[in-house]
């Protein structure tokens, strides 16, 4: 009895040792040389695997970052500057700080402002709807309201507002990964710099139709009148294809365009005070008068 137990233990031990040796030799022979920094970089990544950086996931980003000669083309929008500083420290690169971004929905075609002209009863997907026709409103460019962007967001930052029928971005949760930008078949969502203390100014419309057509389809549409571009003293606004666009790099947040816009298509968000339109308009008028006088003189 005792000898059986001893024999069993001995045989198993010897077998285990022999196999361990084989495994060790094989592991040595077929070892994959991997840069240990990949693991280190991966550790400091957010780990969301969202693909916002353009790579398949955080591991793929880490591999690409270690191989890359610098970090110009590798940026994790979710982790932001903090994460990139850590990555740069591990790899010994310099990192240029980027302004934090946020997703902005450039359509204000609410149910009230943009009347429905037909009923869509098909599959609830913006991509499907956009392949079938231009949508259930008169506007061929606006939000289709099926929520493809909401489904694409992995951070729960987007939700559909049942009253307006438009997606709303939760700025706290948005990581600017860009999934919603890719999901939207109408190219309505744009990543824009968050701005100082979240303050930013943007045109909430992408309608390229001529003024009267756009206005007929939606009361909040940009009609491409160009008043904003004429008002702006910073040359931040371009009107192209009947729609205005504010360049965030040039905008000084003076809110003059917002006050002058006849259709309220320009939105300013997170400003501490509400906009006093009349006061701003008076200020602009005074400035223009002075300029005229100076020109005459």
């Amino acid at each position: 009895m005792t000898s059986t137990i001893i024999w069993t233990i001995a045989v198993v031990t010897v077998l285990g040792l022999v196999l361990a040796l084989v495994l060790y030799l094989v592991a040595q022979k077929f070892k994959v040389e991997e840069d240990p920094r990949i693991d280190e970089v991966e550790k400091v990544m957010p780990g969301a695997n969202c693909g916002g950086c353009g790579f398949a996931g955080c591991r793929a980003f880490a591999e690409a970052a270690v191989k890359a000669p610098n970090l110009d083309k590798n940026y994790c929008p979710v982790g932001g500057n903090d994460t990139m500083a850590k990555v740069a420290a591990i790899l010994g690169y310099e990192v240029k700080a980027k302004a934090p971004m946020v997703a902005v929905v450039r359509c204000n075609g609410t149910c009230e402002a943009r009347p429905r002209v037909n009923d869509y009863d098909g599959y609830a997907s913006c991509v499907v709807k956009s392949t079938l026709y231009t949508g259930d409103t008169g506007c061929a460019f606006g939000c289709l309201g099926c929520g493809d962007c909401v489904n694409a967001c992995q951070f729960g930052a987007l939700s559909m507002d049942p009253v307006t029928g438009l997606p709303v971005v939760d700025e706290e949760k948005c990581t600017a990964c860009g999934s919603c930008v890719k999901a939207c078949p109408k190219f309505i969502i744009e990543l824009r710099p968050k701005g100082p203390r979240g303050m930013r100014e943007f045109v909430s419309c992408v309608n390229k139709d001529k003024g009267p057509v756009a206005k007929k389809a939606c009361a909040n549409a940009c009609i491409g009148c160009g008043i904003c571009a004429k008002t702006c003293t910073h040359e931040a606004i371009v009107v192209e294809n009947n729609v205005a666009y504010i360049d965030p790099a040039k905008c000084k947040l003076c809110r003059e365009c917002e006050a002058m816009c006849p259709t309220n298509a320009i939105h300013g968000v997170n400003f501490p005070k509400p906009l006093d339109k009349e006061a701003v308009k008076a200020r602009i008028k005074e400035r223009q008068l002075k300029a005229k006088e100076a020109a005459n003189a």
């Binding site: 009863d121 997907s125 392949t131 079938l132 026709y133």
Partner: protein, 457 residues
């Protein structure tokens, strides 16, 4: 004896041909027509008239914009009012030529009489040129330019011309009425087509639910005495009118993935196309009108109308008494493959075959539930695909797997959606997947072309 049909899949919806007794009537001229320059598959045509020009019926107003493109003729006589973008059926802007109608004056040289000309022209090349100049496109729905189909690439040989008179879509009756009322012209058109393709045999395929048409065409062939044209009575099954399905049914040959029908020696033309070929070759009359079925259970006045190309849909509907109150959806085409009309101000095009009015009850979609893996969709697919799998891949955006599972071969017939007991919106998702696969294939071809050009340099 079992009637011939295609070998794989298919469904059998109720045919609902409630407008079958309505003879084709010409629709009075609309006060203004809007003729689109993108009425066919391929490059849009280029307008060759200017605002203010006087045009006559049958005058060329737009020239082909490429090899796969077609001439477009004025369908009315009058003055060109504007040339510019206008929303089409789906609301998307495309270039239309607006013509205000003044009288009905036809271009000289067009034979508008009813005399039947049965002597076939000798010169095949001249015939194809006439078909091209007549702006003839496939009127079965795809609107592929006919002259391109009749010019097979070198090395391929046509062995049989098939005239498609299946009209397998429920409700539609315009081809049926054409066969009954213009059977002689269709048969002469078929004879022209088979002569152009090198005196090959020709089959006119008609589904068994149209016995009058089958009997009539048999009579006409005997009377006119053409050789090599036969009528085939087909079993009723959707989508028999699909090109690949019809070739399978008639010739028992399968067209390979991504291949053209000519690769198996077949050329398929619709009944209405055969009529248009007759008009273009024998009468010098280009496509200026086509027959449109206006139907639906809720529509009081069923009709088959001969409509000039570019007539606004609203004009047709108003002529027949306006949109019925209980109509919830208007479909351009049949209920299986037609598209919902979002814009009644849109105008008809050469390929418009029907306007179908459906009630709320008929169009209601049941809520989607989970796939129970019954495989009915795979049984119903006439292309032998696996719709349940394609939907999952499409929703997962796995383009490589979609291509491996032949999503690009989907003919969008809707049999899968029709047969699904869980009411899954199979076709909508597969269409997206098919689009992304075709995009990937095109991108690959473009990259290969660029690489080849770079290598040359």
């Amino acid at each position: 004896m079992r009637k011939p049909t295609f070998s794989m899949g298919g469904v059998h919806p109720h045919d609902n041909k409630i407008s079958r007794e309505c003879a084709i009537q010409p629709l009075p001229l609309a006060p203004v027509v809007y003729i689109s320059v993108a009425q066919h598959i391929g490059a849009p045509s280029v307008p060759c008239v200017a605002v203010g020009d006087k045009v006559k019926v049958g005058q060329v107003i737009a020239e082909p914009g490429g090899f796969v493109s077609a001439y477009i003729h004025s369908s009315v006589s009058g003055t060109v009012k504007s040339i510019g973008p206008r929303p089409d059926l789906a609301g998307r802007p495309s270039t239309h030529i607006e013509i205000a109608v003044e009288g009905d004056e036809w271009l000289e040289g067009i034979d508008t009489t009813d005399t039947l000309i049965t002597t076939l022209p000798e010169d095949n090349k001249a015939t194809v040129e006439k078909i091209k100049l007549g702006g003839v496109v496939g009127l079965g729905g795809a609107t592929f330019p006919t002259h391109v189909k009749l010019s097979p690439p070198p090395g391929s040989k046509c062995e049989r011309v098939i005239i498609n008179g299946c009209e397998c879509e429920p409700y539609l009756t315009s081809d049926f009425r054409t066969l009954l009322e213009k059977g002689e012209q269709v048969v002469v058109g078929a004879a022209i087509l088979r002569k152009v393709m090198g005196d090959v045999p020709c089959t006119i395929a008609i589904e068994e639910n149209k016995p009058e048409a089958i009997a009539h065409i048999k009579e006409v062939i005997a009377k006119l005495g053409y050789e090599g044209i036969e009528v085939m009575s087909m079993k009723m099954r959707y989508p028999q009118g699909g090109e690949k399905q019809l070739i399978d049914a008639v010739m028992h040959r399968q067209v390979g993935s991504g291949a053209l029908p000519i690769s198996v020696g077949a050329v398929v033309q619709n009944v209405a196309t055969a009529l248009a070929v007759y008009d273009a070759v024998q009468k010098n009359k280009p496509i200026v009108d086509n027959s449109v079925t206006v139907t639906g259970e809720c529509f009081p006045k069923q009709a088959n109308l001969l409509v000039r190309v570019g007539t606004p849909l609203r004009y047709i509907v108003d002529y027949l008494g306006g949109v019925p109150e209980n109509a919830a959806k208007i479909i351009s085409g049949g209920p299986m493959m037609g598209r919902a009309v979002a814009n009644l101000d849109a105008a008809t095009v050469k390929g418009t075959g029907a306007l179908l009015f459906l009630t709320e009850e008929q169009t209601r979609r049941a809520p989607e539930s989970n796939c129970i893996r019954c495989g009915k969709c795979a049984d119903a697919c006439p292309m032998g695909l696996e719709p349940f799998l394609l939907v999952r891949l499409s929703r997962a955006k796995d383009v490589e797997a979609l291509e491996a599972n032949a999503a690009q071969d989907c003919i969008e017939c809707g049999c899968c959606l029709y047969s699904c007991p869980a009411h899954i919106q199979l076709l909508d998702s597969i269409r997206i997947g098919k689009g992304s696969v075709l995009g990937a294939i095109r991108a690959r071809a473009a990259a290969a072309k660029a690489a080849a050009e770079a290598a040359k340099k």
